[in-house]
């Protein structure tokens, strides 16, 4: 027999950890849903990986912050920084990647990649031998090494949709992010995919992914809590009196030291 106490606060306490374990179960079920989602021709092409634990999520958040400052365009800087906070506030991150988009196109001539009724747009821009794409050179000049097969990438959307649907069904708040996916991929999550999306999962009384105030990377709750820790200790030291014998809350000069002012 066991008693399991669950509370979202304080973070990573045994009570919060018990809640996080529940979210991990949902994350695993989401991956199942992602794999059974409908997509082009029913062809298998997705992979998934789950990041769980304080250190694991912290490393992803830090890579997002590096990307924000060093790599992504200015307009993405703040979203990346804000979403790094969301990673720290999440219980689990689920990565979904498509293994085929950059390596084994659908070869159907749909026209989505280049607007032509064949796949020339992709093959003319990639290194390949008779249509077999060589992905062994993994150096990149852009965040994603393109072009990729758009139909295959489109398939990833279905996997994300089914995963998010399961999360919503379980009343777990979720957010699918480009930033999380990019950072995770750079760190080796879903390493067979060029395009990876990261889904954050969080259970808290307040949805961690909505109602985001300005400069959230500096004004979020953990910063505020740290502000209290920073200041309270200082203020505490000002009335440094002998508490055994003196209580400043008591009225001074009266004979009745127990009576409050």
């Amino acid at each position: 027999m066991a008693r399991i106490h669950i509370d979202e606060w304080p973070p990573y306490s045994p009570s919060d950890q018990a809640k996080k374990d529940n979210v991990l179960i949902v994350a695993k079920l989401m991956v199942n849903a992602a794999l059974t989602a409908p997509f082009t021709g029913g062809v298998p092409g997705h992979e998934a990986e789950i990041a769980y634990g304080q250190k694991e999520l912290e490393l992803i958040a830090r890579e997002m912050e590096r990307l924000a400052h060093k790599e992504v365009p200015e307009r993405l800087k703040k979203p990346f920084l804000y979403e790094a906070v969301m990673v720290r506030e999440s219980d689990v991150a689920v990565f979904l990647g498509n293994k085929r988009a950059h390596e084994t196109p659908m070869d159907v001539g749909c026209g989505l990649c280049g607007g032509e009724p064949n796949c020339s747009f992709v093959y003319e821009r990639l290194n390949h031998f008779n249509g077999i794409i060589d992905t062994t050179d993994r150096s990149r000049e852009t965040a994603i090494k393109g072009p990729v097969c758009v139909v295959r990438a489109h398939d990833l959307g279905y996997a994300i949709g089914s995963a998010l649907w399961v999360a919503a069904d379980c009343f777990v708040d979720s957010k699918a992010c480009y930033s999380v996916g990019l950072a995770g991929r750079n760190l080796g999550f879903c390493m067979n995919s060029e395009i990876v999306v990261g889904i954050l999962l969080g259970v808290a009384s307040k949805n961690p992914y909505a109602d985001i105030p300005p400069n959230y990377h500096l004004t979020n709750m953990s910063k505020q809590v740290d502000g209290i820790r920073k200041i309270t200790t200082i203020t505490r030291q000002i009335p440094n009196h002998p508490y055994h014998t003196f209580d400043p809350a008591k009225k001074a000069g009266t004979k009745d030291p127990g009576k409050e002012e």
Binding site: A37, P38, F39, T40, V72, P73, R75, L76, A101, V108, G109, C110, G111, L112, C113, G114, G115, E116, P117, N118, F121, V122, R125, R140, E141, T142, A143, I144, K145, G146, P147, V148, V150, V151, A153, H154, D155, L156, G157, Y158, A159, I160, G161, S162, L164, W165, S174, K175, A176, C177, Y178, E194, I195, V197
Partner: protein
Amino acid sequence: MAVYDGLKATQEHLLDVAKACALAAGRAPALTHRLEIMAEIVTDEDLNPMIDVLATLGENSAFQLHDAVAFQDLAKRGMMPPVLLLGADLTKPALWDCGACGFKTCGEYVKYTSRNKGVGIGGYGPTCVWKAIDFGTAADFACACAARHCAEARIMFSVGAVSMLLGRLEGASFVLGLPIGPIGKNLWFDREAWKNILNFERKMMTQMAGGPSMWMAFSGGGNPILKTKPRWWEDPTFLKVEQDATFIEKDVNCQAKAYEKIMRYRGVFGDEDIPK
């Protein structure tokens, strides 16, 4: 008080489910936060032009014929499901400069697409990859919603593409079709009308085309024998790679015929413009 015929009532209910699916698609989360989903529900005889064009393309392609035959059969049996068309303009970039489309920046992408927008068999391009992913999520939500309502549904490129070419959902660069229904059991998997379209030999050929190595005999001598029959060593069939001008000609003719039909349905060609 009233008594409703079960089949008729459920057939009518499919339209309500289609509406719910359209709602779900519009509610789907999006990575880019910037994708407008267009939707339209097409029913009964308004689907005829799509089925007609699909059947024409199907004259040389099993993939389109497969769906055309299914729709024709459902129409004949009075079970035509409403088709939810979902579309979006995926050509506008997310402005992330990610490089997935093959261009270094969204600026370069826009410069190229403004001069080189075109259409393939499924949609217009070039496409912003992240918009395509978001559109997939929206389509998935529509499918999941149908499943929640116990309605059979099957997301289709084929009917979506011809609907787009026929001018539905103007402004969309990519359109998918989601028939909601038919009522019954697994009718998109177990297609009654398809039973006699391809004979056993053609079905075997299709399977072999998908994985010829499974039926290949010793390949060290040049053209390997393809084991197409029980006594495959007698009067053997060989695997040989060659150009097929007849197939290409048929394909071009089918496409031209389908294009003519599309132009006629869209009112671009009058009957007098069509060569006899």
